[in-house]
């Protein structure tokens, strides 16, 4: 274990990216993720890298596309409204099978919304991050430590499977400070980027980075090939955390900052003798269906908690094949629930189960 440093979540993402060999960053300022750009602007020149402030989110994601297309480890970051602007570029990046990391430090929406923490981009991140048949590898850190370690994972999965990866955080994680250890494992199994467009040097055939297929059969085949890789990602890269699920009557499903609030509520509920546990998806796509299905064999009730109006509920229902009731508790618009509010919801459900 390395030396711990006290850092904001946003800064931890930036430093982790650099430590994982990402020396190029293209971004545009937006609250509450601006610290990422600022950190990059300060650090990149000192490590021989580049931080370029683009004229727009649209330009930034396309600079990322150019950098990724030429074989560079590259990242961009934004917050919710900016991610909407990036979604065109994200779709092209998927269509071209390019690896890169996109950070969304979510704020409240829709529209300009607010600047307080939110998880209201769950649908966007997991279902519709651009047009077309596509997925992103989506991780949801729940601590400043995970802001760093999952950044490393996002880069590695992106490179391994030639897919963009998204770090779906929120304003609270971005702004809060916790001790973080930047230990990076040496990666040796990542494939060489022989497909990159960076000048063939007369040594190979030309590379074409392209998402256009005029023959629908060709397009279908390219999508099926990509979905075969998605299946590998599902098999190999799905991650979650379980807490006291084995004997739980009630299983809370929560990710990111909300899972932290739920842990406090769960400890308080356990102290009152209520058997409640937590399944925390660490990857939102792929979604950890297996542990949920297993928990449904013994648990009586599932409670989804999010900072939105219940966007993950359907995924949980599908994962457990609607075998148990699934209810929702959350706050939205930038409001964070207290652990006491979640505890009250747990007690309400426990009361219902006892009847």
């Amino acid at each position: 274990m390395g030396q711990k440093v006290l850092m904001k979540g946003n800064e931890a993402i930036a430093e982790a990216a650099i430590k994982n060999g990402c020396l190029h960053f293209f971004g545009y300022p937006i609250t509450p993720q601006t610290e990422i750009s600022e950190y990059m602007a300060k650090r990149m020149p000192k490590v021989g890298g580049l931080c370029l402030q683009a004229e727009s989110e649209v330009a930034a994601i396309n600079m990322v596309m150019g950098a990724a297309a030429s074989g560079t480890r590259v990242m961009t970051s934004s917050s919710s409204p900016g991610i909407s602007l990036k979604s065109e570029g994200i779709s092209y990046i998927v269509g071209c099978d390019l690896p890169c990391v996109i950070v969304n430090v979510q704020r409240g929406g829709p529209g300009l919304g607010g600047i307080q923490p939110s998880q209201a981009d769950y649908y966007q991140a997991t279902k519709a991050n651009g047009h077309g048949d596509l997925h992103l590898f989506v991780v949801a850190p729940a601590s400043v430590q995970e802001m760093a370690s999952l950044t490393g994972l996002a880069f590695d999965v992106a490179d391994k499977y030639r897919t963009p990866a998204m770090i779906l955080a929120d304003g609270a994680l971005g702004q809060m400070m916790e001790p973080v250890d930047f230990a990076v494992e040496e990666k040796t199994d990542l494939p060489e980027k022989t497909w990159a467009a960076n000048g063939h040097g007369g040594k190979r055939n030309k590379n074409i980075i392209n998402s256009l297929f005029m023959d629908p059969n060709d397009l279908e085949n390219s999508i099926k090939a990509r979905f075969a890789r998605y299946a590998e990602i599902e098999a190999n890269e799905t991650r979650w955390e379980e807490l006291m699920v084995d004997d739980a009557d009630i299983v809370i499903v929560a990710y990111g900052i909300t899972s932290r609030i739920c842990k406090t509520a769960i400890n308080a509920a356990r102290a009152k003798g209520i058997k409640v546990g937590l399944i925390r998806p660490i990857t939102l796509w792929p979604f950890p269906k297996a542990p949920l299905a297993k928990a449904a064999e013994t648990a009586k009730h599932f409670l989804v908690c999010e900072l939105n109006m219940g966007q993950m509920v359907d995924d949980v229902k599908v994962a457990i094949d609607c075998a148990r009731p699934v209810s929702f508790y959350g706050r939205t618009g930038g409001v964070m629930p207290s652990a006491e509010e979640v505890l009250a919801e747990i007690e309400k459900i426990a009361g219902g189960l006892a009847k």
Binding site: L50, A59, V64, G66, T72, G199, G201, N207, I208, N210
Partner: protein, 250 residues
Amino acid sequence: MIVFDKPKALSNVPLHYCPGCTHGIVHRLVAEALDALDITDRTVGVAPVGCSVFAYNYFECDMIQAAHGRAPAVATGVKRTHPDTIVFTYQGDGDLAAIGTAETVHSATRGENITIIFINNAIYGMTGGQMAPTTLPGQVTTTSPYGRDPKIQGNPVRVCEMLSTLDGVAYAERVSVDSPKNINNAKKAIKKAFQNQIDGKGFSIVEVLSTCPTNWGMSPADSLEWLRQNMMPHYPLGVYKDIDAKKEEN
């Protein structure tokens, strides 16, 4: 002995362009510049959305196909992470001067060391003859069926004039491919725009006045005459900016 041969940098595949379209000429000029400067093996081209969307099939260098209007941003990403490559975009008027205006202006003002080949044919060709940002006042298109009225559809944009005001621009020239003499000038301009990049001088753009016989509804020969009669007065040929101009005069 003079041998007329296909440039090495031009791929050995049939182009998809319509009869009489000038894209083929400009492709050839780009390929000739890559050959002359011997840079194909370290060049990355960025294709647009529009008629030249398939440009990635036509050049023997590495190619990237960009989203509509975003080619200069993609080119920025390549050039900034691989400064030793030679990066060019090949864009039409809708791509460069409408949907991609911000990317064009800001890559220019940042002084990105890239080369842009800009085809101005005053119309959207790929989608079948709609109004372009460069469509002339009075010009009939499918989306300006009564002729472009500046009071309704606004005025056309003069790209070289606009970009020449920006500090980051090293070179901006408007050429035409309507005659052997003008093609020769265009060839020199395109080569210079690549040479500038090799020399690290910064943003270079060559705007090429081009024809679209299919969507203009004219024969190729009439199109060339229409270009001379209508486009050239509105879009005068010439060098709008050249940071070397003074040196050359001496």
